[in-house]
Each structure stands twice: as structure tokens, then as C-alpha cells.
Symmetry: C2
Subunit: 394 residues, 2 copies
């Protein structure tokens, strides 16, 4: 078990009607002016945005607003938000939406609080935010886990680069999670969310590390609960229990709990960021579903026993001790079947990725052959290309 | 699933040598003077206390010290600590020890920061702390979970009253958890710790609530991991993996994670507080072990299916669907056997409790017949006496 720091400062208000507290919560920060940041039509059409404005007005809290966040949140809107914060003297950011809105809000908060740095340098790893603005979220989508995570993923559409960075400044001060606000999320987006949530913990589970049996068992609990909840949400979009368990899983899968004592690298996420960076119409969760099984088949022989544990504890498979590889492959097959059963793609072709782009994807993912992603196997440009090819054909 | 607030602000530094950071961590709070609070000989004899003083001195941090915390931390020492803080202008409390030292530190911090209130009123529920001093802990015992919990349990030896209270002010700002610092904990205290840790989550698991399958699965993970780790620590006191998993379980079992969405009441803890309040030589964990199985046998018929889930998921028992009670009773028997196997008592007689005191225990636990503890069954004075009698004879 490796040494670790556990730091989950975000205070979560979970359950029905909790968004009604938002004015009082923001008031605790003594905010002079709030930026309400959101995405497209749904926050408006559902009436949520108007309700939120009402909760702020009831506490005499002044605000400005900025909508328009898209699925892969864009640097140019972040820059617009930073400029607005400076012009208006914003000192609190309220994100109303899903992970994209939250990530955009985080980047705006960091950019606004560190005017001497170009905000894109945070994403590029050239600088780290030293301070930030206080911020809270009303979550309307269970997926990215941004509500409790320390990460923030932004896309520069001019270069097609999608980059994530971690920082203590990326933690929300509070997150309001009312599962009912996700009732209107459609089946496809719900499935993407279930894939993404489980994947945040599956990736941690398959990071190098050992002797973390408590962390492992918690991770298995999160993965299994997410898969069950995801399917139940799709079967019945207004199933409160399923929406609630999925929403809570979203937060726990990515807040650090499931990595305690293990090394940390979200390898398949790195593969996927290149795909949805190049093809902005690709939903992140769908990209992960299309890639994971190929990654798993490519690397599992480097650590069969870890994959056996996964097969046994997550997929409830009896272990074939004479041919353990068969058990592992059966588990990967089951995961692939699960993805298909909830309407997710299991290869890149289905996503519209073109074969001619695979080399570019591998080149980007390897940062021009300068980066390797080292888990159970060292993955450089050549291995990345192998995996992209496998995932294309799968 | 009930609405809930999740708030675990304590920052944990976990692993070998992490205590060396303590001076730098305290420095972040700009403390002028620290109170180092500790227990008996072990912190001194192990050399830890001298090392801690060295880490503070290396950062030019001034300090005073107060030792002498005993197993059930006492109000009179808390009062002494508060007076010392006022006299010396202490603005940060550093607890070096186990749960008793941490609880004593919390109460001192609350008392020192709220001079207009008598500190015992916090324990009696007559007042709630509105502010506190910043505080950190170097943990030397995996048991009470105080390092991340919001609770604090203090005993007034003059009246024999042992009382716990919860408050956001009871959260440590940071906790340093180096499993190696628990290598010298003897087998009996280690067993008491394993019982207490698992019990924090077992009690939450058996609180009323439903549809919390993610929380349930995490709770089962914590309970099973704790039982395994506890036994392994006793078999080999310097087993780092076991000490580490047990220490981390201590924090997660009691920080709120395993109660999300369920109601919250630590019923058997309430029973036990009366026992170790009246018999100060009784270790809290041993008292819990002597009580839990009797409580379980007394109440399980009011919610057989919950106990079946426990039997199946925690004790890996096949369910006897024709006679489900048999499965539940088998699980309780297994838990009793586990307690015996790690040297824990399974009845009150073994602990030295006298039969003539059972009525007084029930009277105290029911606050003079004015309090009931309502879980699956309503437990008033009569039922409490039944359970104390069962636990005496068990």
C-alpha cells in the first residue's frame, strides 16, 4: 500500500429539493456577485435556471450569467467567462449543469483568480493555479464526477487538444445533488454516464499497486452499484433509487476514495480524450466504452491475477484455475455485452472514427512519441496504435 | 434513500514517515502556540513525542504540552486543558495518540474557543459549539475513528456519565496516519480496535433505511476488511498491510461514508457507554463485543431480510429460504466466534459487570426511563434491561 493524501473537502447536499438551499449556501461565502454558469437549453426549459435565480434573489445575492457550455467544454468560453468575472467583479461561481459546466466553471474560477497566468497553461501543465474563486454546483447529470473531483478537462477547439489537469483548486466548495434533476437525461446520455462513472473507478482499480484490499473492495462496490444503477435508470428514467445510487456513485468514483494506496493514472481516459478531442460529436462515455475492452485484452496478460480478482469479484465468475485467461476473457466479454445492452458502442468504427486517423490519434496520445502511459505494460506510440487499431476493429 | 449531507473535511496524510510533515502542516495555520496533547507513557517511551517536538522546533513553532489522557477521556483533564490554552494563548491543538486523546483534544478546542459556555454542556446537548480551535492529530491507535469523525466522547468521573456529541467543530483539520506507529499496540487493544471500527459501520448498516445499495456495499467492504485486518494484526503485529488496512478502515468506518442515505443511531454504542462509564476498566471495544450479539438476537426478527443480507454478504452464508432465521442466527454465531477467536469477551460477566448493576445500566441508558433508542424495534427501559440481561448471561 502506497502512502497517500486523502482530501475531499467538497460538502455534498444530497437528495430531493436540496437545490432550494443554494442561496443560503452561497450567502455563507459573503459573495458580492455570482456568475451562474450553465449549458444549453435544458437548464432553461426545465425551469431550473429560473428557480435558481429566485433562490439567489431571495437572499439578495447579485448575479450575472453565462450559458453555452457544450459537451466538451471549450477554452474560448472559459476565456469569455474569465473576462466577464473581471468586468463584473464576480467572486463566486455557481455551476448549474453536468460535468462540462462544472469543468468550465473550475477553469473560469482558476483563470479569474490568477490573472497573471494564461488559463490554458493550467491545462498544458505549464503552470498550476495557486488560488481560485469559491464555487459551488447544482448537478444535473450523473457522469463526470467533477462535483467532487480535483480534475478539470477543457478542449481548445482551435488545435483540437483536449487536456485535463488536477489541482486542489479544482474542488467545488459545495455540490448539490438532487437525483430528480437527472430524470430528463435520455437513455444514451444516461448510458454514457454509467460508463464514465464506473470507468473512473475501474481505471483506478487497474493502476499498479498492491495490498489495498479495503480500497479494492470499496472500488468493487462502486463499480457493481454503478452498472446496476445505470441499467435501472435506462429501464425507468424516473426510478429515484437508481438515479440516486448512480448520482452518489458519480461522486465517490472520482473523488479519490477508490485510489487510496494505489498509483494513479487514467490510461483509457487518455486514449479517449484524443478521440473526442478530434471528433467533438463523440460523447466521452461512449468513447470509453469503445476503447476499454480493447485496452483490457491488450494488457491483461501482464497481470492476470488482478484481472482474475476483477472477474471474480465484479463479474461473479468462478475462476478457471487451469486456464485463468479464459476467466479473464469471459469477464471482458461480459463487460462488452453490458455496454451493448445499454446501447453503448464497443468499437471506434461505430463512433464514426476513420481508420486513416488512427495514427494521428496515437501520435497525439503519445504527445508526438514523447509520452508513455505506464501501467501493467508500458504503452508508447506503437502500443497505442495497436490498441486504437484493435478498438477500431473490435 | 434519505437526503443527506456528506462532509468529510479532514485532510489525511497516510503512510510511513508522514508524521515528519507535522511541523510544516501546523505552520500553514499560522499558529502562535500549540498544545501537544497526549496520553500516558507510550508516546514518551516510543520516542514519538520527542520527535514531534523536534518537527515543531524545526519550524520554530512554540508549544506547551499536556499528557495524562486515559482510556475513557475525562472531563477534569479537559477543563485543565482549556485553562492551559487560555493561560498560554494556545491557538492550535495537536493530538498525539488514539481516540481518547483525540476526543479530549476536540473538547479542549471547543471549550477554549467558546469561553462563555461550560464545556460539559456540549456533551449534555445543552449547547452546541459555534466555533473551535484548529486541530490536527498524529494517530497511534486504529480504533475510535475520531481522526475523521464529527464525534467526541467524554466521561465525567464524578457522576460516572459518559456522553458523546456530534458537531462539525469536532472534525480534525488534518490527521496523520502512519500504520507503523501502531505496531506496538498489544493484541487485546488491537482486538478492541477491530471490534470498534467494524461496529461503527455495522451499527450504521442496521439503522433504518432502504434503497442504499451503494452505501450498503461500501459498508460490507469496510466490515469485512476490518475483520480480516484485525485478525492479521493480532497474528503478526508488524504486518504493515494489515495495520494499514485497519487504520484506513478506522477512518472510513466512522467519517459518515457508510451512513449516506440511511438514518443514524449508534444503538449498541449507547448501551456500551453506560457499561464503560460505570466500569472504567472496561475497554470500549470489549464492551461492544460483549453486547452486540445479544442486541442482534433481540432485534433481528423485526427485520429478518436486513440481517439476511448481512449474513449473506458479510459472512458469505447461503440463505436458508425455508428457515431464514437459521441463517441469521448462524451469522450472529459466527460473529460471536470471531470475537472469541481474537480474544474478545462475548458477555458482560466476563467483563466483570455485576448482575446487581444491570437495572442501573438500563436506567442510565434510558436516561431514567425518558429515552428510547428506536431502530427496528423501539427499545425503552424494559427492552434495554432485557438486552443487558441477555448480554450478561450470553
Amino acid at each position: 500500500m502506497n502512502n497517500f493524501i486523502y482530501d475531499t473537502p467538497t460538502k455534498v447536499y444530497f437528495g430531493k429539493d436540496e437545490e432550494q438551499k443554494v442561496g443560503k449556501l452561497i450567502k455563507e461565502y459573503g459573495a458580492a456577485k455570482v456568475l451562474i454558469h450553465y449549458g444549453g437549453r435544458s437548464a432553461k426549459e426545465s425551469g431550473l435556471l429560473d428557480r435558481v435565480k429566485g433562490y439567489l434573489a431571495a437572499e439578495n445575492i447579485d448575479y450575472v450569467e453565462l450559458g453555452g457550455v457544450v459537451a466538451n467544454p471549450e477554452l474560448k468560453l472559459v476565456r469569455e467567462g474569465i473576462a466577464l468575472c473581471r468586468k463584473e467583479g464576480v467572486d463566486f461561481i455557481l455551476a448549474v449543469g453536468g460535468g462540462s459546466v462544472l469543468d468550465s466553471s473550475k477553469d473560469i474560477a482558476n483563470g479569474a483568480a490568477n490573472p497573471e497566468v494564461d488559463v490554458w497553461d493550467f491545462s498544458l501543465g505549464k503552470a498550476a493555479p495557486q488560488k481560485t474563486l469559491p464555487k459551488g454546483a447544482i448537478l444535473t447529470l450523473a457522469a463526470a464526477g467533477s462535483e467532487m473531483s480535483n480534475s478539470c478537462v477543457i478542449t481548445d477547439t482551435e488545435t483540437g487538444s483536449k487536456r485535463g489537469y488536477g489541482s486542489p483548486c479544482n474542488r467545488m466548495n459545495f455540490a448539490i445533488e438532487n437525483p430528480e434533476l437527472t430524470y430528463t437525461v435520455n437513455a444514451y446520455q444516461t448510458a454514457c454516464g454509467a460508463v464514465d462513472i464506473a470507468m473512473h473507478t475501474i481505471e483506478r482499480y487497474f493502476c499498479p499497486g498492491e495490498d489495498t484490499y479495503l480500497t479494492d473492495a470499496i472500488a468493487e462496490a462502486v463499480i457493481k452499484s454503478t452498472m446496476k444503477a445505470g441499467r435501472d435508470c435506462i429501464d425507468d428514467p424516473k426510478n429515484y433509487v437508481a438515479r440516486a445510487n448512480m448520482m452518489w456513485a458519480s461522486s465517490l468514483a472520482h473523488n479519490g476514495l477508490t485510489q487510496c494506496g494505489r498509483s494513479f493514472l487514467l490510461t483509457v481516459h487518455q486514449f479517449e480524450h484524443e478521440v473526442s478531442g478530434m471528433y467533438p460529436q463523440v460523447a466521452h462515455g461512449a468513447g470509453l466504452a469503445a476503447l476499454w475492452c480493447s485496452w483490457a485484452r491488450y494488457v491483461y496478460k501482464a497481470n492476470v491475477s488482478r484481472f482474475l480478482q476483477y472477474a471474480h469479484n465484479v463479474w461473479n465468475l468462478d475462476i478457471n484455475f487451469e486456464h485463468p485467461e479464459e476467466t479473464v476473457e469471459k469477464a471482458i466479454d461480459l463487460q462488452e455485452e453490458y455496454y451493448r445492452s445499454i446501447g453503448m458502442p464497443t468499437n471506434l468504427k461505430e463512433l464514426g472514427v476513420k481508420e486513416k486517423d488512427l495514427e494521428t490519434l496515437a501520435l497525439q496520445c503519445s504527445r508526438g512519441r514523447t509520452r508513455t502511459l505506464d501501467g501493467y505494460r508500458k504503452l508508447g506510440y506503437d502500443e497505442m496504435l495497436d490498441i486504437y487499431k484493435m478498438a477500431y476493429e473490435a
